[in-house]
Amino acid sequence: MSDISVIRVRDLLMVTLPSDPDDATVSALQHQVLEAMQKREPKGVVLDISAVETLDSFFARTVAETAQMVRLMGGRTIIAGMRPAVAITATQIGLTLGKIETALDVDRALEMVARGDGNIGGQK
């Protein structure tokens, strides 16, 4: 029913979002991620938003809430690949995504999880 792909890579959940998801798709994201958290008990969730062109307050709130729920279920959430224009717009309207971790791309997000470190990716 949605364009979101949720796949398990080793002990992680890889979630890829389409470029312009409608509200139903965004709502489905939360549902799918939490279901997968329960079924597969991954260490964390990597949310690949590199295709996303618009991040409005509804979308941002859903993502922030989902990350909070994932944390309650024992996982961490890393948002990977936000586009510059999206980051500028989000900052301008005051969206900060709370305490969610971010990574430049999926590769660095995976590295962060593997190393168990914080916000900054490591040098290869």
Partner: protein, 289 residues
Amino acid sequence: MKKKSRPANSVPPDSTPPSSPAQPLQARRAEMVPLLVKSIKDYAILLLDKEGKVLTWNAGAERIKGWKANEIIGQHFSRFYPPEDIARGKAEEELRTARDEGRFEDEGWRVRKDGSRFWANVIVTALRDENGQLLGYGKITRDLTERREAEEKIRKQSQEILEMATVPIVQAWEGIVLVPLVGMLDSQRTQQLMERLLHRVTETNSPIALLDITGVPTVDTQTAQHLIETISAVRLLGAEVILTGVRPVIAQTLVHLGIDLSNVLTRSSLAAGLRTALETLNLQVAAKQ
């Protein structure tokens, strides 16, 4: 002259006060012109002979150039030029142009008695008698130093805006981009810079951006707000910002203004920031054995 005499002529006789009849004043016009020239303070007005030696001096010339009449009359007017202009014969060329074309106009540096320079507008006019015989030259000089300084200031300001638009975003190391900020940060410049920085971080896949404010003279609440916004935006991308070049005066200002940068990684110098960046990337620079 004719033009100026007309209103006086058109005045009806009965409106003229009896104590000062119009006619004698008209007759004294010739005396008044030298008086006018002599007392004008805003322009240096002088006569030069055919060779360029100073014949007359007025109040404006003394005020602008510094010499008194007795010190300069009889001297060649190249005294007013900087050495480099004297060397290339600029003074003589001006007279030549005035002689051949009737008039010469120039804007440039001239020298005062004390050796200091001022920015001058100079007009040299050839003076000829009714037979066309060259008598000498009239020279009018205005001091435009203030105007030039104002123009210079505007030029410098627009230059600064341009500089900010072209602030280099440098790849300092693999994974580290460096932004050396120069001048004041206003909202438009910050917007532009933020956009360029974010694109650069993404393009180069750099997890660390060093924002160096060594060249930023002061930080006010608004500037700090711009910096904080930039830092938040970079973080959303998944990179970290280290604010470097926080000099003592900037640190004091930030605390006094109550600006909270406790969530931001800050360092006093660019070198310290670079060291932190390398450590974060698990790199180290060691002396050669």
